[in-house]
Symmetry: C2
Subunit: 337 residues, 2 copies
Amino acid sequence: MAEITIKYLAEKLNLAPSTVSRALNDSHEISSGTKEKVMALAKELNFQPNPYARSLREQKSKTIGVIIPERINNFFSQVIDGMEAVTKAHGYHLLVYNSNEDIEQEKTILSLLVGGRVDAIVMSISGQNQKGEHLKVLKNRAIPIVFFDRIPYDFPTTKLITNDYQAGYEGTVHLINKGCKKIIFLVLSKEVSIGKERMRGYLDALKSHNLPFNESWIVACGHSEIENIAHLEKVFYKIDRPDGVLASVEKLALATYRALAKTNIKMPEQVKMVSFSNMKIADLLCPPLSTISQPAIEIGVECANLLMKKLTKKDQPDLEDKIVTIPSVFTERESSK
Amino acid sequence: MAEITIKYLAEKLNLAPSTVSRALNDSHEISSGTKEKVMALAKELNFQPNPYARSLREQKSKTIGVIIPERINNFFSQVIDGMEAVTKAHGYHLLVYNSNEDIEQEKTILSLLVGGRVDAIVMSISGQNQKGEHLKVLKNRAIPIVFFDRIPYDFPTTKLITNDYQAGYEGTVHLINKGCKKIIFLVLSKEVSIGKERMRGYLDALKSHNLPFNESWIVACGHSEIENIAHLEKVFYKIDRPDGVLASVEKLALATYRALAKTNIKMPEQVKMVSFSNMKIADLLCPPLSTISQPAIEIGVECANLLMKKLTKKDQPDLEDKIVTIPSVFTERESSK
DNA sequence: TAAATTTTCGGAAACGATTGCACATAAAAA
DNA sequence: TTTTTATGTGCAATCGTTTCCGAAAATTTA
């Protein structure tokens, strides 16, 4: 079936395409009579203007590119839900990409996006490399971008994170108050921004409570679940085994559960754990997991709000080079009782 | 900064835009000398052809629309991951929409998409209404669409599901074999395709094992977690309370856990459960949950393959009106021991 | 009634890429 | 040398919309 175009409507109505276009856009220079006729026919034929012709002409796509390092993760799903709620209201669309924690894929995706396919980008960068040199393709482009959660250090734009340092500090203090003396810190990569900040909070908490610290307590894990479990198992088999765990990301907490299942160490009796996590069923785990959870939806909403403001209002300044912090919420459960 | 266009490249190289275009597309009618020059400059300037100009001209967008009823759900995330893996290889992009289980939103999204924004659609429809009248906007459009998981009954196209009937049957038989005599079936809506098929399997299993059946054993839940829990709690407070639960969707299994937590009924001692679920941490629940899980990634891959074939090869027939079934896998865990 | 506005609409260019066609120039055949 | 055939390139139309500019027609003002 031939698509319905403005030109087609114009012919049917014995009008010029320009008139039809203006009528559809409710321009003041079209009489209400013709407007009604045009609208009526458009409605009847279920006319939808070709988005690509419009994008080409207007030089904007009403589309936002979203790049996340993994999709099977509640946190990111929630963030995107938050974003969609606001972008939808403005008639914007979301192109979503999973970089699979891979810097090369990130690069490829970015190069795809800078060609004008999207009006803006929202991104959480992969853990492989937080330096962000691969982001330089964006530097000389005018495309607005905001980062969240996993942010690059030196890219001048707005970034949204939770209060990583403070949450790391408080999570650690919580464990200390519960009597833990040998608390390990689980991190995906020491290079990742969130890892660094959360770790700083952890270290400061130990220091301010005069607890000893051992370099080996920082346990750097990878992306392989199996290897992580094996690695953690070894950690728990040490003579001087830890009695507390602060996991900087959810998947490491889950790996800990599985590693512990292979030993006969009991949680929370022998080891207590707190984890950064946005799992909805933390309360259903064995034992229920104490979590520090990010306001994911809010983060998404805020990212989108920033961009909508920049894109839909005119004469907006570039996105400020600053970090916006939204606090996490701590929930105590059995795992750290 | 001005975007780089073919015209700009042409000027720089003293060539016509058409020549540059042909060179970039590696046309045989361009000398290798000019090709190299063009390619070199394009690479140097990081030239990306304007996707909208191209879409307009070619009448295709290299974009696929994905509509899911909820985003915070591992199953859908996995399906999309599977899809992206294959579409990416073909240079296709994914526009993802969450209909929030709302038929009105589905309609709105569809009307947005039929205007040429996407070359094809992959969809899992909301549970509100499985009749699919709201899909009629698609009927007279030539846009290929495939449905998965939650499919409409009478829309002539390819649909991908798991072996819902059989899995429902086997899950029920498993509970029967474990000694359950009063097995309830939890369903989101009796209207949803997957609910119906899974229920049919459940009913047939009861019948073929000569177990009595009570209409009240079909527990229709809603989308409100709180109400579902309250509802289930009542079910378990009945004098003739169930000793087995088959949950047709994950969220109802979780609601059951929470409802049971409010009673003093023990699982699996007093009630056993099996649920359709793609949770990765079913083994970490209390007790670990016996699951019937769909091959989500495969489903996504298969959807994408079907569409890629239709879109990238020429003279392809329309998508066949048939149902493709990919079997689920059952994993027994503590909840039904 | 004529002139000046205002309202309403049409023509045509533009956005950036692709492609059918024509036209050079070079190489091959007559 | 002339004619034919490749080969390489340019011109211009096209995709569907929006918008600048101009021109009738209708209205107001002089």
